[in-house]
């Protein structure tokens, strides 16, 4: 480790920066180094392509615009909460409450809009406000009381769902009306509005993570919170912000879901946590922090939705979906391990 390879010795000054690696080994090393992030996403994309190819060969209906858009629609919900979860995981924390937050925002919106007859925008604001507040509470507990987010958000998982059940009296409050229903059902030339919302969320979070100071701080805190603190970054505050972001995405996901189901209830969306985690992990985000991208998460989530969709088209029983997705997670992890080992041996 401590010995430098020949091309990194300082007694050979370079004319041009970055031309240090002129040897073949250096070129490979640099390419791998540069691409390590996008390269992982590219691998996931190839896997997705193979899955699409497989289902296209098995069912002629699979690769139609209508079905692909349907996959996007199915993926948009979980995608949005998975995008928020990605941010939290990069900061080396976790948000277990995202499923329940969906139930909470949908229930709050239902109570405000349906029960109290308030305008839609107020219901949306109240729904998002509730989940952002929930994320804020989890974040404050993590920051100020040093309760690890695994616990604080586990508590929030129960609290958010309990509140949702309380608000709805344990039943589904149904009948939002057509306008609110557009969020989940409108489509432009077949392309669902929910997927557009998801794309906006992904682009916004991608820009946040890659182009802003806050994004870099999230990576720094997740990579080495002590070094980040030494550099003057307030790690606790950064973690709080990530939990607020996932509170917001949980809220957005819940609103879309409640619009599609035309009701709010403590159960709607509450079971989406594992699918979101699966999407994030398949997309290459590290559970240990410091590494990850929402581009990978988007591909991972679309992959899961594709598998679900394809298996339904092939009339394969439901429970196979879970088995296949479990296997894909294992495969993704195995590939990560193997490529990492290969990379290290080249370096």
């Amino acid at each position: 480790m401590e010995d430098e390879s020949p091309q990194t010795t300082p007694d050979a000054p370079q004319e041009e920066t970055g031309s240090a690696a002129s040897t073949a080994q250096g070129v490979i090393r640099r390419a791998l180094d540069r691409a390590s992030g996008s390269y992982r996403a590219f691998g996931t994309l190839i896997a997705l392509g193979l899955i699409w190819l497989f289902f296209s060969l098995k069912s002629e209906y699979f690769f139609t615009t209508e079905n692909i858009f349907n996959i996007f629609l199915q993926a948009s919900n979980i995608g949005i909460i998975a995008a928020g979860l990605t941010v939290v995981l990069i900061a080396a924390e976790i948000d277990l409450s995202i499923g329940s937050l969906q139930a909470l925002s949908g229930s709050v919106a239902a109570v405000v809009i349906i029960q109290h007859g308030q305008p839609i925008w107020l219901g949306i604001l109240a729904g998002l406000g509730a989940t952002v507040f929930a994320g804020f509470i989890s974040g404050i507990l993590t920051w100020k009381l040093k309760i690890v987010s695994f616990i604080s958000t586990l508590a929030m998982l129960g609290i958010a769902q309990g509140v949702a059940f309380l608000l709805t009296n344990g039943t589904a409050i149904a009948g939002f009306g057509d306008t609110y229903g557009l969020i989940g059902t409108y489509s432009f030339r077949g392309f669902p509005a929910a997927a557009m919302i998801a794309i906006v969320v992904f682009v916004a979070i991608h820009l946040l993570l890659t182009q802003t100071k806050l994004g870099l701080q999230i990576f720094a805190v997740g990579g080495n919170s002590e070094a980040a603190e030494f550099a003057g970054i307030k790690a606790g505050r950064v973690k709080l912000v990530t939990l607020i972001i996932s509170g917001l995405t949980g809220g957005i996901g819940g609103l879309i879901l409640s619009s599609r189901l035309d009701a709010g209830n403590g159960l709607f969306g509450a079971n989406d946590l594992l699918a979101a985690v699966a999407g994030v992990v398949i997309g290459g985000t590290s559970l240990f922090g410091g590494v990850g991208s929402v581009v990978g998460t988007a591909i991972g989530v679309v992959m899961i939705a594709s598998i679900n969709d394809g298996l339904i088209l092939l009339n394969i029983p439901d429970f196979w979906q879970q088995i296949v997705i479990g296997c894909i997670i294992i495969a993704a992890m195995a590939v990560d391990r193997l490529t990492k080992a290969a990379r290290l041996s080249i370096l």
Binding site: P13, G18, T212, Q217, F219, A227, A231
Partner: protein, 268 residues
């Protein structure tokens, strides 16, 4: 063993001063009543055995730890309650042992950590948009000046231990225009790079920067410092001019007994 009295520094304003610093980790007393002054253009060596309190003292001075009692002065003003970010904004730059860099980020990101360049445009600034091109240019230029053959976008996880340490030192040297504290900066370095770090340290001091240098390597300490402070079990037991000190004398202060050092005055 009586503490050696500090050299007469009257007439010079210290840039960093600790007065009566005490700190405990639970029942363990890490520092008791330590005084220390750092002057511009001076390299001060801080030596002591493992557990003598050197790193704790540096962390108190850099704002990472808050001492239980005592005062910290920057440029003659009491600055007790400042955190790491505020101390940095006063020009106090620190390289901690092993802990300064984020492995998952690249060289450039570490170089600018929490000091990122933003665009001038007020909207972009409010959004915190990073000016990556300018940061890349500045980092590349700096790396070349310091003769560090590392690519600016290379991940820290992929560089060697020696280069990693050089990058941490280079960062402190680049930003530290006032006070730089280096905790074992040459620990993971080979002979050549160690010498390079020592050269950096001397040139910083010549620019008027005050440098606090922690090392176990007696040869380095004698070579680069102007003055040496010795800690033993959390207490200051010596403060002497390097020109008047011998390795034997310092080792005696460090260990607290008149051990005979085998061989010549070199390393401990």
């Amino acid at each position: 063993m009586t503490p050696v009295s500090p050299p007469n520094e009257t007439g010079r304003q210290s840039v960093l001063e600790a007065r009566g610093i005490s700190m405990s980790y639970g029942a363990v007393r890490a520092l008791s009543n330590v005084d220390l002054s750092l002057y511009p253009g001076e390299v001060l060596g801080l030596v002591g055995d493992n557990g003598a309190g050197k790193t704790t003292l540096v962390k108190c001075l850099s704002g990472v730890h808050r001492p239980d009692s005592g005062e910290i002065l920057v440029d003659g003003t009491v600055r007790d309650s400042l955190n790491a970010e505020q101390m940095r904004s006063l020009g106090v730059e620190t390289v901690y042992q092993n802990l300064s860099l984020v492995d998952t980020l690249d060289v450039m990101q570490n170089f600018f950590l929490n000091r990122e360049l933003l665009y001038r445009n007020p909207v972009a600034r409010a959004l915190g948009l990073l000016n990556k091109r300018q940061m890349y240019r500045a980092t590349t230029e700096r790396l070349r000046e310091l003769e560090l053959a590392v690519e600016a976008r290379r991940s820290i996880a992929a560089v060697s231990g020696g280069q990693r340490q050089m990058i941490a030192v280079a960062r402190a040297i680049s930003w530290g225009n006032h006070i730089v504290m280096l905790d074992e900066p040459a620990a993971a370095l080979g002979v050549r790079q160690s010498l390079q770090v020592l050269t950096f340290i001397r040139s910083m001091a010549e620019r008027g920067v005050a440098v606090l240098f922690i090392s176990h390597n007696m040869q380095h300490v004698l070579q680069v410092t102007d003055r040496i402070v010795v800690l033993r079990r959390g207490e200051k037991v010596g403060d002497l001019k390097t020109a008047d000190a011998s390795a034997q004398q310092i080792v005696t202060l460090i260990t607290g007994s008149d051990l005979v050092v085998a061989g010549k005055d070199t390393k401990v």
